[in-house]
């Protein structure tokens, strides 16, 4: 992360030496060449148009047609029929609710925990660097592996968690078998995997805090709580907003941990919408319904993301 700062210093050093070509040719320098800019953009545009825009249009098309399983192609145009079906599908509505609950609980938990741990890791002592490095290890554990390993840890019979709880007289707890606890488990696993990311971002933000503000607060006799409330948190708002947005973008894609740990169960207790659509489409071969649901999810996600961006801009400007 720290490496991000080097090139500018390097560049600054290299700049003047390179510039000795002389100002005579300045007229040849045109910074506003729109043609070249488009050439630079072409690979990205072609890739995204072909692999992102086209599939989205295709999805909408499938969602508006009667999918023909014999030719494996979208058939007759049926208008909004698929949408009517999925909106009246209790399973889909339940999966949206499950996703909402997961997002509303998991994201704040990860942010609060991440910033709290970042503050703990910020205290200066010899082992600080080692702890920071170790803390990032869960970040490189693939979500599907995290789901599998936690499934073992939380196993009602052989799991270490229940064993430890048994030592203090609790349990056995049905972590995966009970609907409410399955959601708790999903959030625990997801938070285990993603809190280190928040810690990473938060640590960078905390380290960049200006120390003179704290000296001023101290000399003004501010208590620790007042300092945190009126100095630290306002200064960290942009970092908190950035961490939240990135986590949001990741969390709406929640799929692999749920698949590996709970498979959406028991019943539909942890059936996040991505998992539900995947099952409908690729196990039930209901491509029409799956596409309608995917389109609805796409629209909801884009709208919420837009407002979250606006909100984070607003918060950044307010403080």
């Amino acid at each position: 992360m720290s490496a991000v700062r080097t090139p500018s210093s390097r560049a600054r050093a290299a700049g003047p030496a390179r510039g000795s070509g002389g100002p005579l040719r300045r007229r040849g320098l045109r910074l506003g060449e729109p043609g070249t800019a488009w050439v630079f953009l072409t690979p990205a545009i072609v890739l995204l148009a072909g692999m992102l825009l086209y599939p989205i249009i295709y999805t909408v098309w499938v969602s508006l047609s009667d999918f023909d399983l014999s030719t494996f192609q979208p058939g007759d145009w049926v208008g909004l029929k698929n949408y009517e079906t999925v909106i009246n599908d209790p399973g889909f509505l339940e999966s949206l609710k499950v996703t909402g609950i997961y997002l509303v609980i998991a994201l704040p938990v990860q942010l609060v925990l991440g910033f709290a741990i970042a503050f703990l890791l910020n205290v200066e002592w010899r082992g600080r660097g080692v702890l920071r490095a170790l803390f990032l290890i869960p970040m490189v554990v693939a979500p599907v592996v995290a789901g599998g390993v936690w499934r073992m840890l939380l196993d009602p019979l052989w799991g270490v968690v229940n064993y430890a709880l048994g030592l203090v007289g609790v349990g056995p707890v049905e972590w995966i078998g009970d609907p409410t606890l399955a959601m708790v488990s999903l959030i625990v696993i997801d938070s285990w995997r993603w809190t280190p990311f928040v810690v990473l971002v938060a640590s960078a933000g905390i380290m960049a805090l200006p120390s003179d503000v704290y000296e001023a607060a101290k000399s003004d006799g501010a208590s620790r709580w007042q300092t945190l409330r009126h100095v630290t948190v306002p200064l960290l708002v942009p970092v908190i907003a950035a961490a939240f947005i990135v986590r949001w973008l990741g969390a709406v894609k929640m799929f692999d941990i749920a698949l590996a740990a709970t498979k959406g169960g028991p019943g539909q207790a942890t059936d996040v919408v991505n998992l539900y659509i995947y099952e409908k489409g690729f196990r039930g071969l209901e491509f029409g319904s799956a596409s309608s649901m995917a389109t609805i999810v796409l629209v909801i996600t884009m709208i919420i993301t837009y407002f979250l961006f606006r909100l984070s801009r607003y918060l950044e400007n307010r403080w």
Binding site: P34, Y58, A142, M152, Y214, T227, K253, N274
Partner: protein, 277 residues
């Protein structure tokens, strides 16, 4: 920073150590399980130290063709990272450093595409790949991964290019470089640390991707996460904890090693920048 008093300091350090241990425990547990026999895994109380076995790594790996799948994953991750880095870095550069009409809109569209849920793309990708006979091939998976990697690279590299001084490429262009010369000869070398760290993230993201791989592969091009999902699904019947843990260790290990190796390189780049500039 805010901590005052030795007691508070000690408590904070203790808390930090405790938090780190809690977060590390599942990984340590996974490594432990991967070297255990089933009879030492399925016991209460758990056995912390028991007979070591490499069975989970040897016999099962052969049966589940783990190594070819590892190779698949490497090819797909490297391929998609390289394609996305080239396309994404060029686009990020154009959007930050070149004057053009519609740059703001273009940047908005590319960045908004980061919010597109993959589930909105899987049905057409599956259908089109099937019709073109492109399922179960590297190129299909690589192109699918580009959808989330390119916006990511543009996002990161835009911030990065913005931090470079403008005089840099102006100087290069005064020296007679065109835009391309300035970009590839000056901007890219100067941004190497940023490019490398972005690429590491791309490789990790591609390395652990599940959804696209699940629907686009079924045999030849199956990646490790798909294999793991299969093993995890089997866990219900009991018995596959050891193999699952072993494969898990094998997926984490390359990433950790890779990060360490490249970190050295990053540090070197840092030192060069400081001395040779």
């Amino acid at each position: 920073m805010v901590s005052s008093g030795r007691l508070g300091r000690a408590a904070a350090i203790g808390g930090a150590i405790l938090a780190t241990l809690v977060f590390l425990f599942p990984v340590i547990y996974m490594v432990g399980i991967s070297f255990k026999l089933p009879r030492d895994i399925f016991t209460v109380p758990p056995r912390w130290f028991s007979e070591l076995t490499f069975d989970n790594y040897t016999s099962y790996f052969h049966q589940a063709r783990i190594l070819p799948r590892m190779v698949n994953t490497v090819i797909v991750a490297a391929g998609s990272a390289i394609v996305s880095m080239v396309a994404g870095a060029m686009a990020g550069y154009a959007l930050t450093r070149m004057r053009m009409r519609g740059a703001g809109v273009m940047a908005g569209v590319i960045l908004a595409s980061r919010a597109v849920p993959p589930i909105a793309l899987v049905v057409p990708m599956f259908l089109v790949a099937r019709r073109l006979g492109l399922t179960d091939q590297y190129i299909t998976v690589i192109l699918a991964y580009v959808t989330f990697l390119v916006p990511y690279v543009v996002w990161l590299m835009r911030a990065f290019f913005r931090s470079l001084p403008k005089e840099l490429e102006e100087a290069a262009m005064l020296d007679g470089c065109g835009r391309f010369g300035a970009f590839f000869r000056i901007i890219v070398p100067c941004s190497l640390p940023g490019l490398i760290s972005t690429m590491i993230y791309c490789i990790i993201l591609a390395w652990e991707e599940l959804l696209f791989a699940l629907i686009l592969t079924n045999d030849k091009a199956v990646t490790i996460p798909v294999a793991i999902a299969g093993i995890a699904a089997d866990t219900e019947n009991g018995g596959l904890w050891g193999p699952l843990a072993a494969v898990g260790v094998l997926t984490v290990l390359p990433v950790v090693i890779f990060a360490l190796v490249v970190q050295k390189y990053l540090v070197k780049g840092l030192a060069d920048g400081a001395t040779k500039g």
